[in-house]
Symmetry: C2
Subunit: 181 residues, 2 copies
DNA sequence: GTCGACATGTAAATAGTTACATGATTCT
DNA sequence: AGAATCATGTAACTATTTACATGTCGAC
């Protein structure tokens, strides 16, 4: 069974509510799904073209002066295709972690180097928490409680916060163990 | 800057202590690093060949009857290469999560379907916890406390447990929210 | 004798990223 | 005038997976 490119579902989902350009989708992803889903411009434009070819979206060009904006709209068959995917069980992804790999091999190097790695990641995890708080304050607070998306956006945000906190606890645990040796 | 293939470091790390065959490395990974690092046979054999070409490992053939086993041994320059990587800061990986993507788009479908996704993942997370416990009991308990690897192996295991528990808490939270609507 | 685990590999396809390329508009 | 952002795209490359291919050995 060949591996499926799931980018198309992310794009169709973004178009589900309202027509948008590729650029707008990218911008919105950067401030919403970026911590669990990202697309690059080199992937989104060809994918939009493929979706149009397959009749899942249609496009029209708008012009602001001479600057073109290609607005994509999801079709009925696109919505059906998207909802079919929504009903399928989400695949559990096997993620690689370079930090855990280095820690696994920690015995090959010095305690100082191991601690340095963990402390660096601790800084990153704290930064991640700050970013999530900013999304909550700047993006999510703008959305009305009646907005059907709000509770789901909160949940994904809460996931990021909760996991970042668990990681921080683990990092502190490990740093303490290595320091008291 | 081109992206680097990190498989070679995983392999060199596995060879750091003792010479092994590709198959043995794969077997050991399956019972140790599989939840944060995996290689497939189609990646490990070509990579071992490349490492030998670059002088980072050497190989010799052993025979058990007619069955060949190619044993790879890390060289001095291989160890140096590996330790240089160990000293570099671990890259923070941007992982994609299909579950979070589906939940993000939860408003496009029914509460029942959303709950179903979360309940399914809860089962997987519990299974993950069971697997980690088995590793602790079957693999890690066999390793002496004096073994230099033990504390690091415990830490990576503890990470898996801690994150799985945080995920379970989050899943229960979300399931409750969706059920009481 | 045949099934599953052992053991090593290649071929083909796909996914995903980086770098490249172009030009418009807005802000300072 | 120049920099930053808007906006869309292609080319080239690298990584990674799936499927294929081959043969050995031990257990039942």
């Amino acid at each position: 069974m060949k591996k499926e490119n799931k980018s198309k579902y992310a794009i169709l989902g973004m178009l589900f509510d309202k027509p948008q350009s590729g650029y707008e989708i990218l911008q919105f992803m950067k401030e919403s799904t970026t911590h669990f889903w990202q697309e690059s411009d080199a992937s989104i434009y060809p994918m939009l073209k493929a979706l149009e070819r397959d009749g899942l979206v249609t496009s029209r060009s708008e012009f602001v002066g001479k600057r073109e904006r290609k607005i994509f709209e999801i079709t009925a068959s696109g919505k059906k295709y998207f909802l079919t995917w929504m009903a399928l069980p989400a695949e559990k992804e096997n993620n690689r972690s370079e930090l855990l790999l280095k820690l696994f091999f920690g015995a090959t190097t010095t305690q100082e180097e191991n601690i340095k790695q963990l402390v660096m990641r601790r800084g990153q995890a704290q930064e991640t928490k700050r970013i999530f708080r900013r999304i909550a304050e700047q993006t999510l607070s703008q959305v009305s409680d009646e907005h059907p998306h709000k509770q789901f956006w909160s949940m994904t945000l809460r996931y990021g916060l909760k996991l970042a906190e668990a990681e921080l606890e683990w990092l502190d645990e490990c740093i303490n163990i290595l320091k008291n040796k």
